[in-house]
Amino acid sequence: MYRTYHPLYIISYILTIILFVLGAVFYRQPLIAVLLLLMIVLVPFSVFITLICAERLEPDAVSDRSGEISVAQSVTLTLKLTNPTIIPMLNCRLDFSLGNSLLGSFDNEVVMPAEAKRTKEVRIPIETSMPGMVRVVFSSLAVTDFLHFCTFTYPYEKIIELPVMPTQRQLPPLQFTKVSIPSDEAVSTGDGDLTTDIKEVREYRNGDRLRDIHWKILARKDEIMVKEYDRTKDLYYVLLPEFEYDFLKDDLEIFYACGKELLKRKETFRVALAGDTGDFLEMYKVASIEELDTVLYRIYDVYSGLKSGETSQIYDVFSRQYPDMPGVIRIHRGNIVMPEIIEEY
């Protein structure tokens, strides 16, 4: 907690008191004297009561939707401020920023009274027009005393994230080409579990992973057998989304539609994203819709720094690493660019 004093209010109050003192001294007016005493009494009443009550305030924020939402779908955020004390109308200010992770945010302050023995709820309807991670970041709760002498600010750190999914988009019929990437190369997440094709079942040897044990055989025959996968013939699609700020919405929609289309074809695919520093690749394997969503959230994070006119540098990094670019589905400026087109490009 920290205190901020308001000199203007304090000085004006002191001047008023001086005026009343002069009135009481030179005019000898009992009512002025009574009001003067009342003014003096109100100062500690206001400051200390507010301080004591402010510590007991309980802010909270919840969203009416916990999972993902689609673009243009309305969400209601509810701020709750519980005042367990009997002091009414505590002047409270909740500070929070609201924004889409891909586009930026703006600050907000909600000035509201905390009513005695009540929970004050404020409903904030939020409309979206862009996919991205809608993020509400609360920073502080400030309580100002009745006479505006002092503001007591308490940290209130809470983040609410609401992923906004891209709008469904119909893709034209496309012929995708798979890409084969040797497992001993830079595909760090490969390591044999990228395919479900079993090469052979053999006896257990020291060093084998538990997850490779064939549990059904163990159960049936009470023999410890191990599944061995074919590690060389893995073929994958690789989605290479090149996000550009001015085509962000289209890029995201096409990326998401492509991913869904591949999953619909029961294909496991990979997504190549730029790393945090932009000069290395992050490859994500996607085999289910949940994994696709996870990659999408990662995109919301990674590409939050884009500005108008900027394009992610993923294509350059990828082409340096895989010059022949076999089977890559490139998403560029709201279009799907197939390999043969890449060569023309």
């Binding site: 000898r28 009992p30 009512l31 005493l37 009274p113 309807p125």
Partner: protein, 871 residues
């Protein structure tokens, strides 16, 4: 409507821009509760009603007028209700105001005679109260066309209340403005507060409730009605551009009916409790009118207005002290400005007053005593001065005339020589006197200073400065004839100083008859001066007549600096004696002069300055040899040379009475005024507040006298006045601060004792574990308060970890306040507990917390000991 549509379009455009820019936008905030504009207007109406009725009802009740309470309450509430609902919506605002004004006009016209009569009844009663308060003999009397005051006053209250409710509606509903509300209600109350009358406490409670409510609501900012549109927006949104290019949206909650109601309720509670406390504290002592400079100034105007109506204030002028030069009418009020008129340096020789005479009034006509100027009238035969030789005692006086008027010279009685450093001034003492003095008191002339020495006395832009030789003695009458008085002079005196204007003698004789003052002029005239007994008797009779008159004035007349003017066409003296019966020194001196002349005693009207003994005590001492200033057989005890700052407040008028064969002697006719200095009980704040809360008999003594020229009064308390003025606040302030300190102390004591009491209760039930945990609770709280822990309620493990690290390091850094710029780290020394002991107490606490009530008494005591070591 166009404005509303424009605002909506602007809002829509801004939201579209936000959607484009941020991919999201926020709609209208709401609390989910139904916006109750009606109830909000109702609360405002209640506030307006309390302010209106508190003011109007308070004033009327304070002066004791009866009125139809239920009808007035209902009417004022309806009017307040109507006024507040003007803001309900646009239609009610525009149409409502027309209806209000139309209704106001119709009511005013249709009930004009009732309202007018009610107002006049109020004014008549109020003026009577003022008259009683100021002891005025005449007051303005207005005509009441309808005599049933119960009805007319009610009408007038509704009329005034209507007017107030419209104004207060703007102040409260429109702006929640405390200064405007305060001024609108406070100023009308001054009509009664001014004369120490107090509205009954319920009215004050109403007003203070409104003040507190308006202040709290205004500062909270939550007092506006929700917007009247389909959605009923409850928040006001402002988009601000921040310095760094960011944007900030501010959403301010407009108001909630429950919040406003609670605030109003709390304000009512505060006002009631506060007034009850104040009344309890200040109810013991009685109330007395407390004089002060502001009231002294305003009292004069108030009295004039009460006596002669408000218009009388426009054609009056004030006098600021100094000489009136015999001009007596037209001054309704004397308000000295306390500017220096002269500096006088001399050796004090009396605890009485030193009179410096300047102006002598000879003939009275047209409200003026026409007198001599510095060129002595050629018709007047020579009259040696001093009237009597003083037997070898001489003194000198330096006088610097700064601003006392330069047509006259100021000199003490029995002065016989004056010298000036500016030749054009001439010599003020008759040559005969100086010649006489030269012959008889040659040694005194050795005291005279040279022109060079006199120059050191000249400072600033003094016009005159001069030196006077005089005979210092107390104002006593010597019953022996003055050999210097000639028959020729006495003849002149009896011809000149018994003059009374034509047609006034009858009035004066009538007054003297009523006063029972007698003097047989023929009997005591021409007494043989050689018959000592007869001569003394004659002189005594003359002085007794003057004394009788002075006593009569003292018993039947009042002294005031603000008597009001003599009405046009009335004689100054006659009006004073028969009607006014109150006035300042000029009134008494002029009237006495004529009355004594009427009795056959030669008397003259005199003006000048009086240096009171208090002035001498307040003056600065001057270094010098007293023997160079005074030749005396009996030097005044402890006397030194003083320089007195004589202000215009010391200007004075008195009379001189002629004693046959002896000469003129000064005589004081002005009665003393009330006590100027505040008594101990008056200084007490009890008395001040007593006046507010309890209506008691008041001391209506007029303390408005600052005329130090009046011998009895003096000029008291000017130096210490400022301190005394502040003193009255001391005791209530002590009370209030004491109560506050007691409350704070009680809170801390409660916080300290609460765990002790609770743990003792648990111990009584054998719950050692609960008692130990109860005592432990203060540990993380104290650490939080010392800003060592970030949270108030830490887990056992967190607290243990923190203290453990603290003990290991020997010190810990105090947490910086969040959001503040990082400052120099502050370290706090670790407590005396060892790590082993810490482990022991923590295991005990864990046992107490998680293992049920299986803690023994010894373990509890050990735990308490260790908890104490933790802090």
């Amino acid at each position: 409507m166009a404005v509303v549509l424009g605002a909506k379009r602007k809002e829509q455009a801004q939201r579209a821009e936000e959607l484009e820019r941020f991919g999201l936008t926020m709609g209208d905030f709401s609390t989910g509760n139904k916006s109750n504009r009606f109830f909000l207007c109702f609360i405002r109406a209640c506030l307006i009603f309390l302010a209106t009725y508190g003011t109007v009802g308070g004033v009327v009740s304070a002066i004791g007028l009866q009125y139809a309470v239920p009808i007035v309450i209902v009417a004022l509430f309806v009017l307040a209700f109507f006024s507040a609902f003007l803001y309900y919506n646009k239609i009610s605002f525009y149409i409502g105001y027309i209806v209000v004004f139309a209704g106001f006009i119709v009511f005013s016209i249709s009930s004009y005679w009732y309202i007018n009569s009610g107002y006049q009844a109020f004014v008549n009663v109020l003026y009577n109260k003022y008259s009683d308060f100021f002891a005025l003999l005449s007051v303005r009397e207005a005509t009441e066309f309808v005599t049933d005051r119960y009805v007319t006053v009610s009408y007038a209250m509704i009329f005034i209340g209507w007017f107030f409710s419209i104004l207060l509606n703007i102040a409260i509903s429109g702006y929640m403005n405390l200064p405007a509300t305060f001024l609108l209600t406070f100023l009308p109350l001054q009509t009664v507060f001014y004369i120490d009358m107090t509205p009954p406490v319920p009215y004050l409670v109403m007003l203070i409730t409104v003040y507190v409510t308006v202040a709290l609501l205004r500062r909270s900012g939550h007092f506006s009605l929700p917007y009247k549109n389909a959605k009923g927006e409850e928040f006001d949104r402002v988009r601000k551009k921040m310095k760094v290019g960011k944007e900030k949206h501010s959403h301010v909650y407009l108001s909630s009916s429950s919040g406003m109601l609670t605030i109003a309720g709390y304000s009512l509670l505060i006002a009631t409790v506060f007034l009850l406390i104040v009344s309890g504290v200040f109810s013991e002592l009685g109330s007395k009118y407390v004089s002060n400079k502001v009231k002294n100034t305003t009292d004069a105007y108030v009295k004039t207005a009460v006596q002669e109506g408000l218009t009388s204030l426009l054609n009056r002028y004030r006098a600021t002290g100094g000489l009136a030069k015999g001009r007596l009418g037209g001054v309704g009020n004397v308000a000295p400005d306390f500017q220096t008129d002269m500096y006088v340096r001399f050796v004090p020789y009396s605890t009485g007053s030193v009179y410096l005479k300047a102006y002598t009034g000879v003939t009275y006509e047209n409200d003026s005593f026409n007198g001599y100027n510095k060129d002595v009238s050629l018709d007047e035969p020579p009259m040696p001065d001093p009237a009597i030789s003083a037997g070898g005692e001489y003194s000198k006086m330096w006088i610097q005339n700064v601003d006392a008027g330069h047509d006259y010279y100021f000199r003490p009685y029995d002065s016989y020589y004056a010298t000036f450093n500016k030749s054009k001034c001439g010599n003020v003492i008759a040559d005969e006197t100086t010649e006489y003095a030269h012959q008889n008191y040659a040694e005194s002339f050795e005291m005279l200073d040279s022109e060079t020495e006199m120059k050191e006395f000249v400072t600033g832009d003094a016009w005159d400065n001069y030196e006077v030789l005089f005979v210092p003695y107390e104002m006593l009458v010597f019953y022996q004839p003055n050999p210097n008085v000639t028959d020729e002079y006495e003849e002149y005196v009896y011809e000149t100083f018994l003059d009374i204007p034509e047609g006034q003698r009858e009035e004066l004789e009538k007054f003297l008859d009523e006063a029972g003052i007698e003097y047989d002029a023929s009997k005591w005239r021409n007494v043989d001066v050689n018959d000592a007994e007869a001569y003394q008797k004659a002189q005594q009779e003359r002085l007794d007549a003057a004394s009788d008159l002075a006593v009569y004035f003292k018993n039947n007349f009042d002294y005031t600096m603000s008597p009001g003017v003599t009405p046009s066409g009335e004689d100054f003296v006659t009006y004073f004696l028969n009607v006014q019966k109150r006035g300042f020194c000029a009134h008494y001196a002029a009237s006495s002069a004529l009355l004594l002349r009427c009795l056959g005693i030669p008397t003259r009207y005199v003006e000048g300055y009086v240096i009171s003994y208090e002035d001498v005590l307040d003056s600065d001492g001057v270094e010098g040899d007293v023997s160079e200033w005074q030749i005396s057989s009996d030097t005044y005890e402890n006397a030194g040379i003083v320089e007195v700052d004589v202000t215009d407040a010391s200007a004075h008028a008195w009379i001189e009475i002629y004693l046959d064969g002896y000469g003129w002697i000064p005589y004081e006719m002005t009665p003393p005024s009330g006590e100027d200095e505040l008594s101990a009980s008056q200084l007490s704040l009890y008395a001040l507040f007593e006046g507010l809360l309890y209506q008691t008999a008041r001391n209506t003594v007029d303390n408005g006298n600052d005329d130090a020229g009046d011998i009895v009064n003096g000029n008291i308390g000017r130096v210490s006045g400022a301190f005394k003025a502040l003193d009255f606040l001391f005791r209530p302030l002590c009370w209030v601060l004491g109560v506050l300190a007691a409350v704070i102390f009680s809170v801390y004591l409660y916080r300290y004792l609460k765990p002790v009491i609770k743990s003792r209760r648990l111990l009584k039930n054998g719950d050692y574990a609960g008692a130990l945990l109860e005592r432990y609770k203060s540990v993380p709280r104290k650490l939080y308060r010392r800003r060592l822990l970030g949270k108030k309620n830490q887990t056992l493990r967190d607290t243990e970890d923190f203290i453990k690290k603290w003990v290991e390091d020997g010190k810990t850094e105090k947490e910086q306040a969040f959001g503040k710029k990082k400052r120099k780290a502050v370290y706090v020394k670790a407590p005396a507990i060892t790590l082993a002991e810490l482990g022991e107490i923590m295991s005990l606490l864990r046992k107490a917390a998680y293992s049920g009530n299986n803690l023994g008494g010894d373990e509890y005591r050990r735990g308490i000991k260790l908890i104490r070591k933790m802090l």
